[in-house]
Symmetry: C3
Subunit: 340 residues, 3 copies
Amino acid sequence: MIQFLRNVWYLGCWVDEVQETGMLARTIAGEPLLFLADGAGGISVLRDACPHRFAPLSLGTCEQGIVRCAYHGLAFDAAGDCVDNPHGPIVKALSVKRYPSIARHAAVWVWLGEQFADPTAIPDFGFIDRTPPEARVTGYLHNTADYRLMIDNIMDLTHADYIHASTLGGGINTRAKAKVSEDENSVTIEWTAENDRLAPLHAQFVTNSDAMGDFLNRVTWFAPGNMLQRIMLANPGEMATAPVDSMTCHVMTREGPHSTHYFFCHTSDGVTANPAIAPVVLETLVGAFSGEDAPMLRAQDRRIGDADFCSLGPALLPSDKGAVMVRRALESRIASEARP
Amino acid sequence: MIQFLRNVWYLGCWVDEVQETGMLARTIAGEPLLFLADGAGGISVLRDACPHRFAPLSLGTCEQGIVRCAYHGLAFDAAGDCVDNPHGPIVKALSVKRYPSIARHAAVWVWLGEQFADPTAIPDFGFIDRTPPEARVTGYLHNTADYRLMIDNIMDLTHADYIHASTLGGGINTRAKAKVSEDENSVTIEWTAENDRLAPLHAQFVTNSDAMGDFLNRVTWFAPGNMLQRIMLANPGEMATAPVDSMTCHVMTREGPHSTHYFFCHTSDGVTANPAIAPVVLETLVGAFSGEDAPMLRAQDRRIGDADFCSLGPALLPSDKGAVMVRRALESRIASEARP
Amino acid sequence: MIQFLRNVWYLGCWVDEVQETGMLARTIAGEPLLFLADGAGGISVLRDACPHRFAPLSLGTCEQGIVRCAYHGLAFDAAGDCVDNPHGPIVKALSVKRYPSIARHAAVWVWLGEQFADPTAIPDFGFIDRTPPEARVTGYLHNTADYRLMIDNIMDLTHADYIHASTLGGGINTRAKAKVSEDENSVTIEWTAENDRLAPLHAQFVTNSDAMGDFLNRVTWFAPGNMLQRIMLANPGEMATAPVDSMTCHVMTREGPHSTHYFFCHTSDGVTANPAIAPVVLETLVGAFSGEDAPMLRAQDRRIGDADFCSLGPALLPSDKGAVMVRRALESRIASEARP
């Protein structure tokens, strides 16, 4: 049986995704959700099913925070309360489940479980708020692979040397020294290299013709699939005044057993200084993931199928340490939710 | 486990569907069937599988009531008896199951079960026979949704106000007074309205510029998915000489757990008087179903999945009363078939 | 539960299929395999999954017998041994399962089970080696049908009279006298006809205008799905100097429960004498299978679904005798493998 974590904050959508039409349908951890602009600047999260006959409310219309079911005309506000029943009285049964949600860091976070939805449990992606919107490189992609494979992929960035060899790879990620640590809420892996040959895409940021530089790449994971990455690079010995200092969040939100929503937001001193390059950076990020990571993750997912990954006895490499710690942390949370 | 009703008459096809090529393959309640013209003006229903290796007989050829399997040349008559075995003697095992069937009301009705196939159990769709063929608006459509959702959709026509707002809706169906009744074999729901604003498509049939009229819409259901609808409308107070008096049958024949054959035949005084408009009426009916009902029914079916609809606790509205009575009647029949 | 035979030689690929790019991915009996040119003229068979994270090795690159995983750069030789681990020491866990395999008769044969892989158990397809490559008509096709249906199809060639009526059929296969025999390792069916009307495609090889001839068609099956066919035909009474004497192997290698790899190689005196006609013969064979057999086998497979064919009670014809004996031999082997 598939066990979806429920008592966690899932990043459900970027605020901008809802504001265009007033609503957005998205399934998260098997639950069909409707992200609904409440007409007062907020967004609430309802179950995307009319209580009458389970028609998706997202097939209806949305006006000023009221969604009307296209099938029999029942209307609901952003609290999930029925505000119009053309067929009779408004009774208690005519309400739509509303999930706890918080708009923070340009995203809507939703909580599916029954435990207390602690607002402080949302990871700190404050770098987003500190960056002007036009300098943020924000995206949403979908992939048909288990979200844990998608997390593993970020927690072991040595894969960049091989799968993104001509851009982010070339060997430095594998050669870098990795340090892993964890606390109650997070797992961090940090790769550092000194006076090493930078990846092709990074070479332009140093002044020596051999593309040698100092390099730091740190990823911190927070449950369930939220990762915060900092990349710094500089001419050898000049890290204190690094010309590249970027922050990226990679968020893997489970859709179903073999499908994942991938949200990312990238900021850097360079894009902040020159927001005109944001579209080029976006294209690079989307191209790397869609063209290189995504097919590999899908192929891996198909090979594993419905088996438990660990039960298949994968050979562990030193570079897996962060990913393994994340999987253990997730398993421990799932076990804890399963306890009565 | 899915339980298909078997001891009922299923409308399997329109007679015209078979007469073009002499045979038609269609799966009903999970059973692959072959509707075969018998060469003497009749149509019989056989299992669409050769007894030898289960090749679909419908891949073979049909000549004067004899179907020949394309795979090894065995030939069968409309009784299902083998009439040619090129490989040896004709033995008893070489016969194809034939199902009881009756051609009535321009359709072939088939009985899948083991109990007595009572000819009087076919619903009276005599309006078809009383209408010249050129004045009948007859159609067949397929949809990937549970046949019970397709039935519910007809038993609660208030949906027309919302989903067909610009043609058959606008509010009158919801405002109309509904009366529900049942007897041993049927469930009837009747909506009536007096001096009410008619639906856009009906407004043309009254002479007042406000489109006010009297309205009657009656649907009677017979197991498993046969519904007979009468619509009448007139200027206020003139129902006795209603200019519109139409009969339509809507038949939902289960194909599989999530797919349904939809047969309809519509007649009206207007089309009888001017059969040239039949194609326009057909286009309207097909458009309303395919463009408006069908996508909603599919979306509803996906939300419900393999769960039992009632176990999900739908909120009942007064307008559901007819549909609920039909579901109960179906459940009672299924339970009765399941008893040894 | 599906039981795949494992302690048999499966024809996995034609040698030529690998030599183009150095590797080939193919799933056999549910097992994802990589056929890898070893750089020394041989081909070895590995599990197509990196031991690290189960990424398909076939997505990687192959150079001189070394396959490198595209995901994290691990490299393996044709023995399945890791020869490069950029992330740490080469440990025992970093090896890929290698399956016993033998290159013989222009094909790679692979053994999936744990018992002794006896090289003498490969069927004798020596006719391939005795024919110059340019005179061999070799092919590979894929079909989504149970491999046993694909075998049955060859073991009862009377189907040619109906399904290939205009080329290989017309009646002679059904009229021919069939003789079936078996020994411990094989089942043979032989059809013979004397002074009978030949199939349309064969008529050109006799000199009388009535297309009358003597005909022999013999098929021998070896487990799991290897069949060797000899066809001879001549003017009546002249079989001793038959102008047509052809050998064809038809190999049905199970991919999954409802999919099969079909390998064939056809040789004849005629093609040997004039290899220029090989492409025409290939086109004929591919056309007959893909256009005529394959759709029928798929339709049959869908009708049967996941049921056991025999449990459905098929009516047996005399012409099924060979196929039935093969099914019994397969069942006996499967039962024997299932015993502890």
